[in-house]
Each structure stands twice: as structure tokens, then as C-alpha cells.
Symmetry: C2
Subunit: 99 residues, 2 copies
């Protein structure tokens, strides 16, 4: 397991809910103001299960995103820091692809 695996960097927020040779599925939850350590995701499908606002820092690039429960999106492999900048809890399922 990489030192940047989110299960290692932020075990209070990320839980493995399924894994086989093709995918790993993570359940992510946090609360307003929470901030992760820097961590790495492979190519993943994200499924938003709550409405929330988030700041993502990817190297020198800082993005603020607002998402809606029910949205699905693609997240290419990356190292980032995530921060809950809204007033609602975050709940996201990550389906990580083992390329």
C-alpha cells in the first residue's frame, strides 16, 4: 500500500467497503471544516451521496467545487488535498479502477 493511500493518510474519513482484483470501493465522509492529508487516488468514478462544497488542492492548482447528491463524475489519477468548505457533511463513494 502506498504511503499516499487515503486509507493510510485519512483512516477516519475513508473506509474500504468492497475490493477485488478490478476495483476498490471507498466510502468517504467528513464534516464542515475537515481537511485531508495529501493523498493519491487512481482513476476513479465518484458518486456523490450528499450536497457539499469542497476545495481541492492539486499541486499549485486550487479548485472550489459544489456538488449535488446523485451526481457521478470521473476523477483521473491524482494526488490532492481535500477540504470541506461548506456547511454540510460530505458523503461520497469512490470506485477506484485498478488499471
Amino acid at each position: 500500500m502506498s504511503a499516499l493511500d487515503p486509507i493510510r493518510t485519512d483512516p477516519d474519513k475513508y473506509k474500504v467497503i468492497f475490493e477485488n482484483e478490478r476495483v476498490r470501493v471507498l466510502d468517504y465522509r467528513d464534516t464542515p471544516g475537515a481537511k485531508t492529508q495529501a493523498h493519491q487516488h487512481p482513476n476513479s468514478v465518484l458518486l456523490m451521496l450528499s450536497d457539499f462544497q469542497r476545495r481541492l488542492t492539486i499541486g499549485d492548482d486550487v479548485r472550489e467545487v459544489t456538488v449535488t447528491a446523485g451526481q457521478a463524475l470521473w476523477s483521473p489519477a491524482q494526488v490532492h488535498v481535500g477540504e470541506n468548505i461548506g456547511t454540510a457533511d460530505s458523503h461520497v463513494i469512490f470506485v477506484e479502477l485498478k488499471d
Copy 2:
């Protein structure tokens, strides 16, 4: 698109909510008593968003399954018929892998 694509066989139940070259994400909903046409899924991750009971008919094999909201599971490529045999609506996200 295959004639057995669930978007073609059961467009009242399956909606595409995301697609790229690696994955297609489907939102599935039905109500008690609903039954699909025979349709085909590739290797997929299923994420259950409600508690429900289901009968799956895969060729001569008939299985009854009970699932819980929050469960994630792997569904290998298959052709099947699904039927909601419980008293609750079904809501499932399919993350289909384009192998």
C-alpha cells in the same frame, strides 16, 4: 448498442448518468412487482441505495437476494431478468466497466 443493453430493454428503469471511454454509470429504479426484460450487463460494481428484495433469473439459475442500502458488490458480466419481489422501491447505481 446491443439489443440487450438495459437502456434499450428497460428505458423506464435505467438512466445513464455518466459515460466516458472507461465506464458507464447507470441509475436503476423500480417499484414492487416490477420485472425487467432480459438484458445484459458487463462487469460492474453495484452500489445499493435502498434496502430491497430481488429475484434474478440467469438462464436456468434463479436466485433471491436481499440487499441493504450502502452495500457495494461485484456483478460479473451476465444476461439476466430482475424482479422486485419485496415491498420497497429499488434504487441501485451500476458502474459498468468497459473492459
